[in-house]
Symmetry: C2
DNA sequence: TTAAATTTTTAGACTAATCTAAAAATTAAT
DNA sequence: ATTAATTTTTAGATTAGTCTAAAAATTTAA
């Protein structure tokens, strides 16, 4: 139980969470160095440390992924960040573009009691001032209302949260083309004639989908 | 202008401010080590650093005193600490004995905009939940109502904030026995028969005062 | 007023987080 | 399928803050 993270460790965990488009996707050393404004060598060292603490999975030269406990920590930090942003905007009259930097500091304050009371004080909001969802005390995210993939246009993106229809033939087809719940998806192109789509799936590249399929897939806004 | 203090430096400055009963009194290395739960050797090193930054005055083997800029920093930290405590108790329903540890973290958040907006949000309180005064944005402390030294009883203490009477003979006498404004004073004993008092003055030791004198001296609660 | 006790400082070392420069592994390109 | 370019890791140093042990200065007490 004696495992409270340092400020630096928290920042690494959060960055890994935010860079990884899906929980499975590997985050590269360079991407992390860029995001944290530090050098790849530094990241390499820290990765070893976090890996040793079992917060991330790591294979040399292959990037990192959060473990279950790592993801839990990330969600706690994001929860705090977004609750504080809500406080700053809703009660201290900050503009929504002024709160990020301050919330970056406040997110590291350690006291679950404080976070939960703040949550209550704010009326248990589900989204922050930027519209991003606020994880609850258990790390659960209330995803926004989902819509059909077929209703989306180019450049829109989100994560796959469900299928409208349980037809085994459809589900088997989706399995075959590697579409599954939780995947990040972005619409690349929509064909005006038959509404077929070109989409990009995290880590799985480009795919063509007919309207018959896109009209069965539910998408929600990503974290 | 590039002189933002580290968390550790802030804690040293605050401890020096709080241990020194008066702005002039020297704070010893050991007292600081005790207060900060560290070792004298560590304090010795940090003292050199703070001295070099001109936040404190330091003479080897003679303890330290805050400089003007050091005192300003200390007041900023204390202001933040007490404002956050007020927020935690008045708006998040914490009990007054639960807020210190959390405020110890919150006091280090850097944003004067945040502090001032928080101050406004709280209605510009002048005391925190423990009755301690909250410095304003300029570091000015609104001292609580003063009372006569003659109205105090054993163990009560405070700082000398005024004299009721401007009689030169009285003032000269006070000068002679080293009593002056700003000094911390504690009542050691009160004589039931003639109301004369034994008092302890910061750094000046014990003194006997007749009721004629104690009834002229105004005391306010110390910081 | 000299000796003993205490306080403070110095010396040398350790850890966490960082850096630069160079080596090693992977990926891309001819 | 080699070579070139890129990415990642290692090696060796650096800084802030800390420690222990020992030396030096100050204070207290016989």
């Amino acid at each position: 139980m004696e495992n409270s993270l340092s400020l630096t460790e928290e920042n690494y965990i959060k960055a890994i969470f935010q860079i990884g488009t899906t929980p499975e996707s590997n985050v590269s050393t360079n991407a992390l160095a860029d995001s944290l404004q530090t050098k790849p060598a530094t990241v390499s060292d820290m990765i070893k440390k976090l890996s040793h603490k079992k917060l991330i999975f790591y294979e040399k030269y292959k990037g990192v992924t959060l473990s279950a406990s790592g993801a839990k920590e990330a969600l706690k930090i994001i929860r705090k960040h977004r609750l504080w942003e809500a406080f700053l905007v809703n009660h201290l009259n900050f503009k929504w573009d002024q709160v990020h930097e301050i919330a970056e500091q406040l997110e590291h304050i350690k006291s679950s009691e404080l976070v939960n009371r703040l949550d209550d004080f704010l009326g248990n909001p589900t989204i922050d001032p930027h519209g991003d969802p606020i994880p609850d005390a258990n790390g659960q995210v209330q995803l926004g209302p989902s819509k059909l993939l077929s209703e989306m246009t180019s450049y829109e993106n989100g994560i796959i949260v469900g299928v409208k229809n349980e037809d085994p033939l459809l589900l088997q087809h989706l399995d075959k083309i590697n579409i599954r719940l939780g995947l990040h998806i972005e619409v690349t192109e929509v064909n005006d004639f038959d509404q077929s789509m070109q989409v990009k799936l995290a880590d799985l590249g480009t795919l063509f989908l007919s309207e018959k399929i896109t009209s069965q897939i539910l998408i929600a806004k990503n974290l």
